[in-house]
């Protein structure tokens, strides 16, 4: 039952944005709405994930542990982003960057975007899953091009074209899946729950080809290299709260789609095929992104490349495929979403204060914006996998799994590139956070709601790692049940 509220509340909020034009009220209403959604998603998570059951409504909504987990991740980041938006949009209006009217358009698009993302994990029908993911692209294109500058329009165009082409491949793959299903003599259906039941008897050759299309298609949306080219542009040009949503959860919805098809492939073709492809793409993403991170000059692009890196790590985790690795990868989905959102919020504050993206021109953040500076300091260490923060735990799980599976090469590649990226991040952020403020700029206060968003995410970063030690057993049990390994 909760799922209908989770899907309905964003729609209701979007309708409210059409009726009411006072942006301050809308911002606060959003926060309340998404807080409710967050609570509902926690209830769902408790009910479904821990009992290991599945629940379906009307045939085309189907919830199991995987989907409620992704709904929960989306709810967390969306709530934080709604909190942060209030202060951020208010500041933009005060500075005259956007008008009052445009602010309510922002809230409308924000709600529609969130709604489309909530739909993705809820869908049982693979065709509707495709439609939901394409909808996320179409709506967020406006949010990428929101500021109406040359750069943002260019980024939006690249985003919409590259992702649409990618997603057409995914549709091709979906159709081939349904073809494999229909020639096996069963009735016409695109429902995942129907397909996974008969996975063993489907034509293996067709499924193999179809999965390549799926991986290229949804991989484009997930930002797996070498299909990642839209990602740094879109993330650097979008409004800051939206950058957090794009990086934190939009990429993860595509990962979710890949996993859904992956489960069918694992059951039918066998694990090795899925594993090789995922590890290949994961390693390419890790290697390419680390190069760009080293030489990056633009703050938001740096964070965008870091997202590609983390998506690569997640792909490697699922590719390794032991229960520990899959558990680590799923946990990494959550940890990366939380940590990267915090970093993008910080970057948003920094960019709006210095009015520059170039990291060479940004100095003395900890003096100019003390609170943001402190949270960013924490965030950098969390993001690069420093203990005791949550990302350390999940990365460690994946690396341990690689060693115990005696995939030493993969473990070595992971460790090497994580070390390189750690160095690059400390170098970039060390220069930015410390040092003296450029002349003519003075320390400013930060909006309260923004601070709440930071504290909420910061708390999650700090406690998830520790809390996980206590629920590790259940977690791995759920993951094992999901992937049948």
């Amino acid at each position: 039952m909760q799922i209908f509220f989770i899907l309905g509340i964003p729609i209701l909020l979007a309708v409210t944005c059409l009726l009411i034009r006072r942006q301050r009220f809308l911002g606060i209403l959003n926060c309340v709405g998404y807080l409710v959604v967050l609570f509902l998603s926690v209830i769902l998570l408790k009910q479904i994930a821990l009992s290991g059951s599945t629940r379906s409504f009307l045939g085309f909504i189907c919830l199991d542990a995987l989907s409620v987990f992704f709904i929960f991740v989306i709810a967390v980041v969306v709530f934080a982003s709604a909190l942060y938006s209030v202060g951020y949009i208010k500041k933009d209006i005060e500075k005259g960057i956007i008008s009052q009217k445009k602010a309510s358009t922002y809230y409308l698009l924000f709600n529609l975007f969130c709604c489309s993302m909530f739909f993705v994990p809820a869908m049982n029908n693979l065709g509707m899953l495709w439609v939901a993911i394409e909808m996320t692209t179409l709506i967020s294109a406006f949010l990428v091009g929101f500021y109406n500058k040359k750069e943002s329009v260019e980024a939006a165009w690249k985003y919409i074209i590259i992702c649409s082409v990618g997603i057409i491949f995914a549709l091709l793959g979906t159709i081939l899946f349904s073809y494999a299903f229909s020639i096996s003599g069963l009735s016409k259906s695109l429902n995942w729950s129907d397909m996974v039941g008969v996975a063993q008897i489907l034509d293996k050759n067709i499924l193999k080809i179809a999965f390549i299309f799926i991986l290229v298609g949804y991989g484009t949306k997930a930002g797996l290299a070498p299909m990642h080219t839209w990602l740094p542009d879109a993330h650097s040009q979008a409004v800051a709260p939206i950058s957090a949503l794009l990086s934190g959860v939009l990429l993860k919805t595509a990962i979710y789609a890949i996993l859904r098809f992956g489960i069918i492939i694992i059951k039918s073709v066998g694990f090795a095929y899925f594993a090789h492809l995922m590890i290949l793409l994961g390693v390419i993403s890790l290697v390419i992104s680390s190069g760009f991170i080293l030489v990056q000059k633009d703050l938001k692009r740096l964070l965008a490349y870091s997202s590609i890196e983390h998506i690569g790590i997640i792909a490697i985790g699922f590719g390794l495929g032991t229960p520990l690795a899959c558990a680590g990868a799923l946990l990494h989905v959550f940890n990366h979403a939380v940590t990267k959102s915090l970093m993008f919020f910080g970057a948003g504050n920094i960019v709006s204060f210095y009015r520059k993206h170039n990291m060479n021109a940004i100095r003395g953040v900890s003096k100019a914006l003390p609170f943001t500076g402190m949270m960013m300091f924490l965030g950098v260490f969390a993001l690069t996998g420093f203990p005791p923060f949550s990302i350390f735990i999940s990365e460690m799980m994946i690396i341990i799994a690689a060693f115990t599976k005696s995939s030493y090469l993969i473990a070595a590649i992971l460790l090497l590139f994580l070390a390189i990226i750690f160095g690059a991040f400390i170098n970039h952020f060390g220069k930015m956070l410390f040092g003296s403020i450029p002349k003519g700029m003075t320390k400013t206060g930060e909006p309260l709601t923004g601070k709440f968003a930071f504290l909420f995410l910061g708390l999650l970063i700090c406690i998830t790692g520790v809390a996980f030690v206590f629920i590790k057993g259940e977690w791995i049990w759920v993951v094992q049940k999901l992937f049948l390994i």
């Binding site: 065709g127 179409l138 329009v153 082409v165 057409i168 159709i175 695109l190 050759n205 000059k297 633009d298």
Partner: protein
Amino acid sequence: MQVIILFTVLVSTYLMVIAKRTPALIRSFRYQSFCLFLATLILALREHQLDLYVVSGLLFILKVVFIPQLLYRTIKKIKASEELGLFINPQLSLLWALGFTYLSWVFSAHLIGQGNEIRVIMLAVAFFVVLAGIFLMIFRMTALAQIIGLLVMENGIFLLASMVSGGMPFFVEIAIFFDVFVSVLIMGFFVYRINKFFTHIDVNKLSRLKG
């Protein structure tokens, strides 16, 4: 009958690949969509399914009438040059297209195996249309050509889907139509924006974001 329609789809796709100007491209796209409409209509008449009638009707309204009209209007309004801006000249494009045809033939023969010849032809044409769409998107410079390339790919997918046991489930089909409709509107909107900010729609020159 089916083979004739498939052949017309093939011809219209070749026309698109060698087109030099945007209006010609749109016209060929209209022919191609009309063929798809005919194919679906024939299927509907044969099977007497209401779903298929609705799908073919939507196909006609959306892809034969509305989208080409929208694209023509966009060209007129933005007053951009009608040249497509070819990276590869028509003769060479033709060679590429021939290569694609052969490739998709081999691929679909491999996928389906012996026996059902008409299925192999359908699959080959569908894959060829998808490949031609990618070709248009990569080797033509204007934003409008990219939109049409995307639509051509979509047409190819539609053909493929109708081959697969008469299309996808009805509401998925409707949702995909809606999706195509919205995406064309949004892309058209961004073409206006690009034209406004850059005073051209040459995507090749959009290179402010790097690294």
